[in-house]
Assembly symmetry: C2
Homo-oligomer: 541 residues x 2
C-alpha cells in the first residue's frame, strides 16, 4: 500500500474541491458573517503565506487567543498545514499561567482577538520568543496597544498571494498543542499529531459515534482552545458540513437563536451551557430546536434530568460524550445499542446518562490500585487507562509526564465503572476518592445524592484520615439560606442511608458557608482537604 | 500521540467485547448456521493456534478457496491477526492460473471447501511450497482425495486451545493478497497491509460513504476472494453488525430469501446478481425487501434502469460504488449531496448512475495522454489516477508494477469524466478507447447507445487504424435472430446520430454472430481488434 501520510491538508483540500459553495457562518458582535468553503480555502492559502512571510518555519509554535470565529477556523488549518503547530490558548487562564504557557510553548507569533489585547499587554515583556502580534478585529485596525510589533489580520490577508505550496509533512509531525490545568503547578501541554487528529476526525464521522456528515450543520460552542474544540472544526470541515461559529461571548439567547435560524443539527458544549439555554427557551419561547439531531455534552457529566427534559420537551437527543485534553478528546460516546431498542424510556435515559462506549480504535483497562482489572458489572470501580492513536503519550517538555503516562497507557485519573454492555460511568477522580478499608467510595455519588436534598445548595465529600480504615468520607454541605440552622447532620445521613451501603455513609457532616472552587469552577477538593487538615474548615453553627 | 499500530486485531477484539451476542448467519447447502460473535471470536483464537501448530509463521502466505461462509470469515481474521497473509484465491481461475497464483504467492498451507477439492487435485504436484490442505466441510470429514497431507478444519479446531497471544504487528505488515487478472499474462498480486485495511474499514463506516453500523445486517454476496469481499467482512465485524454469509453457490432465490428472512440492510454484488434476483422477485412475488437501506453495486457499471426500478418498485436504494483490486477496493461511492435534494427523481437517477464521489482520504488526478489534467465539466475524458493509504503501490514480485504504478500514482486504466460536482463517470478502459485525431471517443458510450436499439442483442465498438485520424471507431453488432438481414448499417448510424458529435459516429458497422468474451464474461475487445487486423472478423451477410 502507498505510504500516504495522514495529515490535515487532506481535510482542508477535499471539501474545498467537493463543496465550494457550502457555508461557514460566524456570529460577530452585531451581525452574522457568512462565506463559502471556497472563500475559506482561499483565505487559508493566503494565511499560510502570511505565516511564512512573518518568518514562521516548520515546527514553530503559533499562539491563538480567540473566540470561535471563522478566522479561528482559518488558523486551525493554515498553521498546521504550513507545518507549524497551533497553540490553542485558553484565554481564561490567570495572568501568570497565560505568560507561562506562551513561554513554555515557545510561541513565535500570537494571533489575538482585539477584545483580548488587555490580557496580553501586562505580560508582553515576558514573552521573549514572540516576534509579533496579529490582531483580529471586526472593526477598524487596532493601533493603540502596548504590544509590538503589531499587525492587522485582514490587512495581511489582503496583501497575500493566492497560491501556496503546502509542504508534504510527516503524519507524526505536531499539528496542535493545548495546555491542560494541573492540580498543582503550571498547566501541562499536550501535543496533537496530524495522524492523531486525522484518525480522531474520521472516528467522529463514523455512523456509530457522531456520524458527522455533509448534511449536518455543526456548531461547536465548546471553545476552540479546549482540546481542538472537541474535534468538531476538523471533522465538520472534512465532510463539508455547514458550520456555525458562535463568535464572541455568546449568550444562551444567542445560541438558541443560531440553532433556530441556521437549523443547526449538531451542537456541542458543557452541560451548563444547555442548562442556561433551556432557561431562556422556557422563559421566552418561540425557538425551534427541531433541527438538532445531537446536542453533544461533555466536559462534565450531563445530569440525567437534562437528557430527559430535552428529549421529552423539545425532541432533542442529548448525546453524552467523555474525553480530556490528553485524548484529543473523544474517548467515549453514549449511544444506545440495537439490543436496547425494547427498553423503556426510563431505562434508556439511565444508559444515556453514562459516559458511554469506548470509541472504535481505542483500547482501555480499568484497574484497581494493584493493577488488577475490575469486572464489567457496573459496580466495581477502577481507574480508566487508555491507549490509542489519538491518545497523548507525554506532556510537552514536562517532568510530570511520568506521573500520567505509565507503561504505554494514559492514566486518566478518572475512576469509573464498566457495565456488562461496556458502558463506562464516571465515578470520581482518583485523587478525590475515599479509600476506606481497601474499598473505594465515590465522593461524586455521595455529593449527587446530597444535592438532591431540598435544603442543600451544594455539597462536597472529601476523604479524611482514619486510624483503622485509613480514610473515611466527610460531607461538607452548604445549605440554602432559608434552611440554615433548621436541618441536622443526622437528617443528612438518614437521607443518604436508603441509597448506599452502610460503610459508604459519611462519618460526619459539616455545614459550611461555601465550597472553594478552582479557576475553572470545579470544586477545589484539594484545598478543602488541606483546610480540614489544618483545622481551618469552619463549620457554621 | 501514542504510536498505536493500526492492525486488524482491534477489529476482531472490539466487537467480541462489546457485542458478544450479535449474530453471524451462514447459509449452508441445506440449512442456515447461526452463531454469535463470542463463538466466532473463540473459534478465531483456536484457528490461530491451528495455524501456528501447522507451522505457519509470521509473513507466510496461507491460501483460502472458499465460498462466503462463517469459516471463511474466521480465516479472514485468524490468518492476518496471527501475522500471516491471507491469500484469497479466485476459485474460478483456469487451472494453470490457479496453479500459478498459489505458487507465485508461495502459499504454505491451503484451506479449501470440500466442493473445490477437484480444482486442486489436478495441480497438487505443482504446489511445491504447500505443506498441507485443510478441508472445510459441513458433512463428514473428507478422506478420499489425492491431496496430502490433509486435515479436517473442524477436527483441528476441536482440539485447539482457547488462548492465543496475538503478536504486536507493524501496521505496515501484509494482511492479505489478492490476484487480479491481466489482459496478457498471469494474474497480478496486490498485497493489502493492516493499515490499509484498517483505514479502508473506517471509511466504509463513515456516514457519508456507506455508514456501516452495529444496527446493520450486512450480506456480502460479492465473493470474498474479490478484493476483501469489498471490505464488508472487515467493516461489518468491527462495528458488530449482524452478518449474513450467503454460502455455497447462492441462487437469486436464495438471496431474496435471505434478505427477506434476516432483514438484511446492506448487501453488495455486481449488477447481474441483482438483475437476476429482480427476475425471481417479479416471477414469484412474496419477498419483502424493505429492510434494505443500501444495495451496493460495483464491479461493473449499474444500469440506470436498475437503480430506478429498485427505487420505484421496491423502495430499495441502489448505491453505486467503484473500485478495483488495487484499491482494496472502495474508491468512489455515488451518494447525493444535500444540494441535490430539490432535484427531480430523474435528475437524481442520472447522478446515482455515475460512479460517484472520491472516498474521503483518497486523492485523484484525471489526465490526458500528455499528463495534463482535464476540466471537471462532465465532458473531458482522462485516465483516473489514484493515491491514498489503501491504494496499492506495486504488484507482488511482478515486473508489471512499472506499467501501472508511476510517480506515486496508481494508473487505473479507466477513462472517466468528472462533473462540476466531482462525480466520476466511467467512460472506457484506456486500452479500448478510440483515439481519433487527438480526441478520445468512448466505446462504452457508443455500445450503450447501440444496445438501446430494439434489433441489437449486443454491440462492441473497437478502434481500427486510420491513416489520417490514427484511429476510428468500428461497431460490431450482434442482431437479435429475428432481425438478422432486416436492418442496415445506415439505420444503426442514423440511430446514433442524434446523441453524439458527428466525429464520434462509427465509420462502419459490422454485423457479426458473436462478440468474444473473457473468462470473467466481459467483452474481449483485444481479441476482437486482433481478429479485425488479421481479416478474421467475419461479417454475417
Amino acid at each position: 500500500m502507498m505510504h500516504t501520510q495522514l495529515t490535515l491538508r487532506l481535510l482542508l483540500e477535499q471539501p474545498a474541491e467537493l463543496f465550494p459553495y457550502k457555508e461557514i457562518i460566524s456570529r460577530t458582535e452585531n451581525a452574522t458573517f457568512r462565506y463559502t468553503y471556497a472563500d475559506f480555502y482561499r483565505r487559508v492559502v493566503r494565511l499560510a503565506n502570511v505565516l511564512q512571510d512573518l518568518g514562521v518555519k516548520q515546527g514553530d509554535r503559533v499562539a491563538v487567543l480567540a473566540w470561535n470565529t471563522y478566522r479561528h477556523l482559518e488558523l486551525y488549518f493554515a498553521i498546521p498545514c504550513m507545518g507549524a503547530t497551533l497553540h490553542m490558548v485558553n484565554f481564561r487562564l490567570f495572568r501568570d499561567q497565560l505568560s507561562y504557557v506562551i513561554r513554555h510553548a515557545g510561541d513565535v507569533l500570537v494571533f489575538v482577538d482585539d477584545s483580548m489585547l488587555p490580557m496580553l499587554e501586562p505580560i508582553a515583556e515576558k514573552l521573549n520568543d514572540v516576534r509579533g502580534f496579529v490582531v483580529m478585529t471586526d472593526g477598524e485596525p487596532v493601533t493603540q496597544t502596548a504590544l509590538s510589533p503589531i499587525y492587522d489580520y485582514e490587512q495581511l490577508l489582503a496583501q497575500a498571494p493566492d497560491q501556496f505550496a503546502f509542504p508534504d509533512l510527516s503524519e507524526e509531525s505536531a499539528a496542535g498543542i493545548c495546555y491542560t490545568s494541573a492540580t498543582t503547578g503550571n498547566p501541562k501541554g499536550v501535543v496533537y499529531s496530524h495522524r492523531g487528529l486525522y484518525l480522531h476526525s474520521l472516528n467522529m464521522c463514523i455512523a456509530d459515534t457522531l456520524g458527522i456528515s455533509e448534511r449536518d450543520t455543526v456548531m461547536p460552542v465548546v471553545p476552540m482552545f479546549h482540546a481542538n474544540g472537541w474535534g468538531f472544526p476538523y471533522s465538520a470541515t472534512w465532510m463539508g458540513a455547514t458550520q456555525v461559529m458562535p463568535g464572541p461571548h455568546p449568550s444562551p439567547k444567542d445560541l438558541a437563536q443560531l440553532i433556530n435560524d441556521e437549523h443547526v443539527t449538531v451542537a456541542a458544549a458543557v452541560p451548563t451551557v444547555w442548562l442556561d439555554m433551556e432557561r431562556v427557551i422556557e422563559q421566552e419561547g418561540g425557538y425551534d430546536l427541531h433541527s438538532l439531531r445531537a446536542l453533544v455534552v461533555g466536559g462534565s457529566a450531563a445530569p440525567r434530568g437534562l437528557i430527559q427534559r430535552f428529549q421529552e420537551k423539545y425532541g432533542v437527543p442529548i448525546v453524552h460524550a467523555y474525553g480530556m485534553t490528553e485524548t484529543t478528546p473523544l474517548a467515549t460516546v453514549s449511544r444506545l445499542k440495537s439490543i436496547h431498542d425494547p427498553l423503556s424510556n426510563e431505562e434508556k435515559y439511565d444508559i444515556r446518562a453514562k459516559q458511554g462506549l469506548l470509541a472504535s480504535g481505542l483500547k482501555m483497562r480499568v484497574v484497581r490500585d494493584d493493577g488488577s482489572e475490575v469486572a464489567h458489572n457496573g459496580k466495581e470501580m477502577g481507574e480508566l487507562l487508555l491507549q490509542g492513536p489519538w491518545i497523548a503519550d507525554s506532556y510537552y517538555n514536562d517532568e510530570r509526564t511520568k506521573e500520567t503516562f505509565i507503561d504505554g497507557w494514559l492514566h486518566t485519573g478518572d475512576v469509573v465503572t464498566v457495565d456488562e454492555e461496556g458502558y463506562i460511568q464516571l465515578m470520581d477522580r482518583t485523587k478525590d476518592l475515599v479509600k476506606s478499608g481497601g474499598e473505594w467510595i465515590s465522593t461524586v455519588e455521595l455529593e449527587n445524592a446530597l444535592m438532591a436534598h431540598p435544603a442543600v445548595a451544594e455539597a462536597a465529600v472529601i476523604a479524611i484520615p482514619h486510624e483503622k480504615w485509613r480514610e473515611r468520607p466527610l460531607a461538607c454541605v452548604v445549605l440554602k439560606p432559608e434552611y440554615v440552622g433548621k436541618v441536622t447532620k443526622e437528617e443528612m445521613i438518614d437521607f443518604l442511608a436508603p441509597h448506599f451501603a452502610k460503610w459508604w455513609l459519611p462519618d460526619d457532616v459539616l455545614f459550611v458557608d461555601a465550597i472553594p472552587r478552582t479557576s475553572t469552577g470545579k470544586f477545589f477538593k484539594k484545598q478543602l482537604r488541606e483546610a480540614y487538615q489544618k483545622g481551618e474548615l469552619n463549620p457554621i453553627s
